[in-house]
Every structure is written in structure tokens, then in C-alpha cells.
């Protein structure tokens, strides 16, 4: 365990939404928990997010969104991961989603959706339990 590499996490904001408070707070919480964190900043397309995730060889992508555009961007990101043989990257989402959308997002392979009120320490614990470092991609 001692020499196991740190988990690498990409926090990403798909779409044009500028509400980045949640993304920045969770990025800090993950960093404080000892993970390696990369944050894309706002206004990323699904293509940019998947390409960054692959280049940076991350184990987890955390998507943060508030605008309602998740119905387009989340499925597109999952499709692109599959096309790039990277579907073993765990994807989670955070934000405020219509309740009826949550089972749909899980059905396309998003492992967990964290809603308002989720505690940072619970999210960190979820990651420790559910995410293991993936094997490095062969170029």
C-alpha cells in the first residue's frame, strides 16, 4: 500500500456555466485529502474534458454543473470515454439536477451523483472506498 501511487482526479466543468464555487471547494477538499487534483476551469467541452482526463491519466473525473446542460454534456462525455477505451475512469457528478434525471445519469455509467448538502468528508470517503488507481494507459 505504501508505494501505491496517489489517486489522480480531474475536476471538470462542462458547458458554459460559470458557477464554480462547488468545483473549487471540492478540488481543495480532494487535495487536502492527499489526492492529486487537476481542475479544468470553467467552459470545457466534453471533448476537452475527455482529452485532458486521458492526457493526465486520471483515475476519477468529477463533473460539476448547475446550468441544466448535463442532459447533453454528461452522456457525451461517457460516449467519448468509451470511444477512447477509457471507460474504466470512474465518473461522478455534483450539482443540482432534476430528481428524474439522476437514475438516467447512473444508467449511462456515472457512478455517483452528489447533491446539495453532501459533506466533503463523505465524498472523500466515497472516493477512498470506490476508486482505485487504474493501470497506466499504454500509449
Amino acid at each position: 500500500m505504501a508505494d501505491e501511487r496517489k489517486l489522480r482526479i480531474l475536476i471538470a466543468k462542462p458547458g458554459l456555466d460559470g458557477h464554480d464555487r462547488g468545483a473549487r471547494v471540492i478540488a481543495r477538499a480532494f487535495r487536502d485529502a492527499g489526492f492529486e487534483v487537476i481542475y479544468t476551469g470553467c467552459h470545457q467541452t466534453p471533448e476537452q474534458i475527455v482529452s485532458t482526463a486521458i492526457q493526465e491519466d486520471v483515475d476519477l473525473i468529477g463533473l460539476s454543473i448547475l446550468s441544466g446542460a448535463h442532459r447533453y454534456s454528461f452522456p457525451r462525455i461517457m460516449e467519448l470515454l468509451k470511444e477512447n477505451n477509457a471507460e474504466d475512469i470512474t465518473v461522478i457528478g455534483g450539482g443540482i439536477f432534476p430528481l428524474e434525471d439522476i437514475p438516467k445519469l447512473k444508467a449511462i455509467g456515472i457512478k455517483e451523483i452528489f447533491e446539495p448538502g453532501a459533506k466533503l468528508e463523505d465524498i472523500v470517503q466515497w472516493v477512498r472506498t470506490h476508486v482505485k488507481p487504474r493501470k497506466a494507459m499504454v500509449a
Partner: protein, 562 residues
């Protein structure tokens, strides 16, 4: 305000009281180890005249409508005219939003406020690949002057003032508004309203980004200059703390960074050659009213005093109007909870009351379901009714600045001003706001505050009912608004048809002139507004104008620091 002998006696008796207090604590300790505002500013158990003994009534408070305007910007305040009830509205297509405008006016709102969707806010038409999935979701989609016409159909533009929350593309959207109003026979000199047009807070907080800071400022100055000469009743910038606060700032940070953005705009306009008293009276502000009642009232009172002093001392303004911090307020979206959403009505009521006691000129009250998405008609009506009940039933609008003289409110007002001045001096030392933004300074200060608050919530040091005390699950409300994903295709098709009908020669001529002005040095002869009005009238879409800006001035991306 008190004689020296009174103060001496008070000091002695206060110390004695403190001993009594300590004794009482032995039997019954305080509920918390430390009491502080929602922004974590420490508060004492008791405030007395000793806390405001150095204040001078005439220097620091004065009378309403008089320098330093601590007690309000008008001599009559709400006894003559209530604040403008201006609900933020925008959803789906222009027709959907127009319907909402009429609904709100029918229910008694007195001013309009337009929420644009993210593509419009970022300078993209609905058909841009970057706009996928966003159309009409967080506001209304406006691509063309025809959309603008539909947005305001049936509304008298010389009677109703309209605020438009638009920032990097503000000049383009304003040009569409003016061109449409003139097409409908209105006189631009009589048009009243506000464009938010606060590009600096985008880099700091809201992140609807388009151009780098310098050209962004140039466009802001162009609009101020054009407004000064051509649209004199228009508020050309609404210098906004709202989004800074929503991003996690403390009340002091909201105050300081916003006021400093204001300083920067004034400096830039003076550099252009405008005289301070010719334009400063048309600068307005926008504050957040958060849940900590007294802190918010103190912030708004301090804002007026701080701005008045800066305008007088730093910029040598002469006209009283140039020194007035007139402002709109919105209750705090970030204070609302998805859990037990009906409690949001109560939060909003308290926040609205703070804004009224703080002396706001106009107010948006959030709807109980605004935490999920754009409010439903049912919820927005309750939110508007909240203002109306406060205005007409409670008596709070009958006295001007009724909390003046409260030892606590005055002490907190002083503290707000002092702590904001610490930031203002620091920003001066850093070489101004653009330099500070480039160093990521305000952004990181806000990120620190947001993280600190979240940690306090997790430790139970700050309480949110329904979230970390008496936690509750989120219900599925029946009346939540759903924006149809298919609107996107409808809007794309409509804009394509619009483009096909345009006179291409006329359009090209107008765009060439816009480019010539953008490429030239900033001055009245190169002011973008006249060319923009011609261009949008000839059919230029929002994105076509913004793409031209992006080509000439370059772009700016969120650096993504945390």
C-alpha cells in the same frame, strides 16, 4: 454624541456589568465558543455607546439624501416612492420570457430584469457547437434584433425601466435594445434602464468570460461614453457584488472588491477624457442580501458612505449624484436549500427585509424553487408577494433608516468600512484591480472564504436548517419548471432563417465600420456603439459581433485555479 462624563461613567459601569456577565456564565455558559456573522466577523455579546464614541453624526451619518449618504440616497426614501420591485426573469425563447414579463407586471412588479442564457451571456448564438444543451435553460436565448423585439413586445419602453444582466457582450445587447426601441418609435434619450456591463467581476467571480481585461474595459468605457451623450437616463454599469458573494466571498470582500471595481471604471472613464460629474451619476451598484440580517444592513450603509467618500476625495466629484451609491439588491441564492424548499420563503423574507432596511433602490426576491432552476409562475408570485407584503403591510417602509443609532448596527457599519478600506489599500499597492486579477488575488481570497465557510458548515459552526441541523431529504416538487430540450432546434432554425433574409451588402458595410472602430485607438470617433446599432439593425447576430471582438481583441479563458 455622548458627553465625556457620560462615557467615563459608562466605561466604569460596563466593566462592572462584564463581571456580572462572567458570573452568570459560570452557571450557564454561552451556546457557542465564539459568535460570528455568516462571514465570520466576530460579534460581541453587547454593544453600547462606547462602541461608537468616536463617531460624528454629521461626518459619518448625516441626513438622508445628503453626504455621505449613510442614511439613504434620497431625502424621502420609501415614504415618497417604494423601491422598484424588479424580478429577475428569463427562460426559454423570447416569447416565453415576454409572457413571464407580462405575468409579473400584471401581478404588480414595477420594473423588468432580464436573465439571458449562458450562450447569450458568453457571446454565442444558439447554433454554436459550444452552446449545445444550454438554450433557454438559465435565461432567455437572444441571437438577433428580432428576438429582442419579441422579448419586449407589448411593453412600453419609455414607462418601464429594464435591467439586463449582460456583461462581456453588453454593448451588443444594448445596441439591440436601442435599435429595437427606435424601430418601435421610442426616443433613445427617454429610455431608462440598466445594463450590468461589469466585466471585472467576471474575472473575479461569475466567469462569463470573453475578452482579456484591457479590451473589456475599453468596451465598458465606450458604453459609458455613449450613454453620457446619447442615452442619458440609462445606467451604463451595475457594479456587482452579487456574484462575488455567491462565489463564496465574505460581506467585506463583496464590498471591497465591488467598490474597487467601481474605482477602476471611474479611472478608465477619466482616462478617456470624460469628466467625473458627467458620468458618475449613471453608475449603479448591485448587492447580495445574505442571511445574516445585521451584517447585510451594515454592509449597504457602509457601501454608501465608502463610495461617497471615495468619489469626493479621490475623484473630486462635485455633484451629489456622482457620490451616491444607488443599488439593486437580490436575496442570496446561495443561502437557499434544496432540502425543505418552503423554508426558502422565510430566508428570502429576512434577506429582503435587510435590503429594505439597508435602503435599496430596487429588489429581486428569490423564489423558493430557484435553487433547482428558473422559478415556476407559482413560486415567483410568492416571491413578488413577499416584497409587496413587506412594503404595504409591515410598516417597515414608513421610516427612513430606522436602525440608525443602534450601537450594534453603527459599530458594524464602521467595521465594514474599515475592513473594506484595508482591502482597498492592498489593491492600490498591488497596482489596481487588473494587476490583482492577473495575480489571481481576489479569486483566491474568495476561494479561501468559500472553503472556510464549507468547513464551518461541516463542523456545525455555521448552521443551515434542513442541511446540517434537522437534516431532511429533498422533495420532488410538482410545479418545477422544465425547459424543453427541443427549444434549441427551434431557435437555431429561426436564427438561420433570419440570416438568410438579410441585406448582405448593408450588413457587410456595418460590420466593416465596426471593425474599423475596434481596431482604432479608443476615442469618441471610434466608439463602438453607433456602429453596433447599425450592425444589429442590418441583421448582425450577437455572435457575429462578438466573434469580431474576439478576432480583434483576443480571448480569455478561466485559468482554473483553486
Amino acid at each position: 454624541m455622548f458627553s465625556e462624563s457620560q462615557l467615563d461613567r459608562m466605561e466604569k459601569e460596563y466593566k462592572e456589568w462584564l463581571r456580572e456577565y462572567e458570573k452568570a456564565l459560570q452557571k450557564m455558559p454561552e451556546r457557542l465558543e465564539r459568535f460570528s456573522t455568516v462571514s465570520d466577523m466576530e460579534v460581541k455579546a453587547l454593544y453600547t455607546p462606547l462602541d461608537i464614541k468616536d463617531k460624528d453624526y454629521f461626518e459619518d451619518l448625516g441626513f438622508p439624501g445628503q453626504f455621505p449618504f449613510t442614511r439613504g440616497v434620497q431625502p424621502t426614501m420609501y415614504r415618497a416612492r417604494l423601491w422598484t420591485m424588479r424580478m429577475f426573469a428569463g427562460l426559454g425563447t423570447a416569447e416565453d420570457t415576454n409572457k413571464r414579463f407580462h405575468y409579473l407586471i400584471e401581478h404588480g412588479e414595477t420594473g423588468l430584469s432580464t436573465a439571458f442564457d449562458f450562450p447569450t451571456l458568453m457571446g454565442y448564438d444558439t447554433e454554436s457547437p459550444l452552446a449545445r444543451g444550454e438554450c433557454g435553460k438559465c435565461g432567455v436565448a437572444i441571437d438577433t434584433i428580432d428576438d429582442m423585439q419579441r422579448l419586449f413586445a407589448g411593453i412600453n419602453l419609455e414607462e418601464v425601466t429594464t435591467s439586463m444582466t449582460i456583461n462581456p457582450p453588453a454593448s451588443v445587447i444594448w445596441a439591440m435594445y436601442i435599435a429595437n426601441a427606435e424601430n418601435e418609435g421610442y426616443d433613445r434619450k427617454k429610455l431608462g434602464g440598466t445594463i450590468q456591463n461589469d466585466c471585472l467581476k467576471e474575472f473575479i467571480a461569475q466567469k462569463t468570460l470573453m475578452l482579456p481585461p484591457e479590451p473589456s474595459l475599453r468596451l465598458v468605457v465606450d458604453t459609458v461614453e455613449f450613454g453620457t451623450y446619447e442615452v442619458p437616463r440609462w445606467n451604463t454599469i451595475s457594479i456587482s457584488g452579487y456574484h462575488i458573494r455567491e462565489a463564496g466571498a465574505t460581506a467585506v470582500q463583496e464590498l471591497a472588491f465591488t467598490i474597487y471595481d467601481g474605482i477602476t471604471y471611474v479611472e478608465e472613464c477619466i482616462k478617456r477624457g470624460l469628466k467625473v460629474d458627467d458620468f458618475a451619476g449613471r453608475l449603479s451598484f448591485f448587492w447580495n442580501s445574505h442571511i445574516d440580517f445585521f451584517e447585510e444592513i451594515a454592509k449597504m450603509r457602509a457601501a454608501r458612505r465608502l463610495w461617497a467618500r471615495l468619489m469626493k476625495d479621490r475623484f473630486k466629484a462635485q455633484k451629489p449624484r456622482s457620490m451616491m451609491c444607488r443599488f439593486h439588491t437580490q436575496t442570496a441564492g446561495c443561502s437557499l436549500t434544496a432540502q425543505e424548499p418552503y423554508n426558502n420563503i422565510i430566508r428570502t423574507t429576512v434577506e429582503a427585509l435587510a435590503a429594505i432596511l439597508g435602503g435599496t433602490q430596487s429588489l429581486h426576491t428569490n423564489s423558493l424553487d430557484e435553487v433547482y432552476m428558473i422559478p415556476s409562475e407559482e413560486a415567483v408570485r410568492i416571491a413578488l408577494r413577499t416584497q409587496q407584503i413587506l412594503a404595504d403591510e409591515t410598516g417597515v417602509a414608513n421610516v427612513i433608516d430606522p436602525l440608525a443609532g443602534s450601537y450594534f448596527v453603527e459599530a458594524l457599519t464602521d467595521k465594514m468600512e474599515e475592513e473594506a478600506m484595508v482591502y482597498i489599500r492592498k489593491l492600490d499597492e498591488m497596482g489596481g484591480m487588473v494587476a490583482a486579477i492577473e495575480k489571481d488575488y481576489p479569486q483566491m481570497e474568495i476561494a479561501d472564504a468559500a472553503y472556510h465557510f464549507q468547513q464551518q458548515v461541516e463542523k456545525g459552526e455555521k448552521i443551515i436548517i434542513g442541511v446540517n441541523k434537522f437534516p431532511s431529504a429533498r422533495p420532488d416538487l410538482e410545479f418545477i419548471l422544465r425547459i424543453d430540450d427541443e427549444l434549441e432546434n427551434f431557435q437555431i432554425e429561426r436564427t438561420r432563417q433570419f440570416k438568410a433574409r438579410r441585406d448582405k451588402v448593408k450588413l457587410q458595410k456595418a460590420m466593416d465600420e465596426l471593425r474599423r472602430r475596434c481596431e482604432g485607438p479608443p476615442c469618441w470617433e471610434n466608439n463602438v456603439m453607433p456602429a453596433l446599432i447599425d450592425a444589429v439593425r442590418a441583421g448582425a447576430t450577437e455572435q457575429e459581433c462578438c466573434d469580431l471582438y474576439r478576432e480583434v481583441f483576443g480571448t480569455y479563458s478561466d485559468p482554473g485555479t483553486f
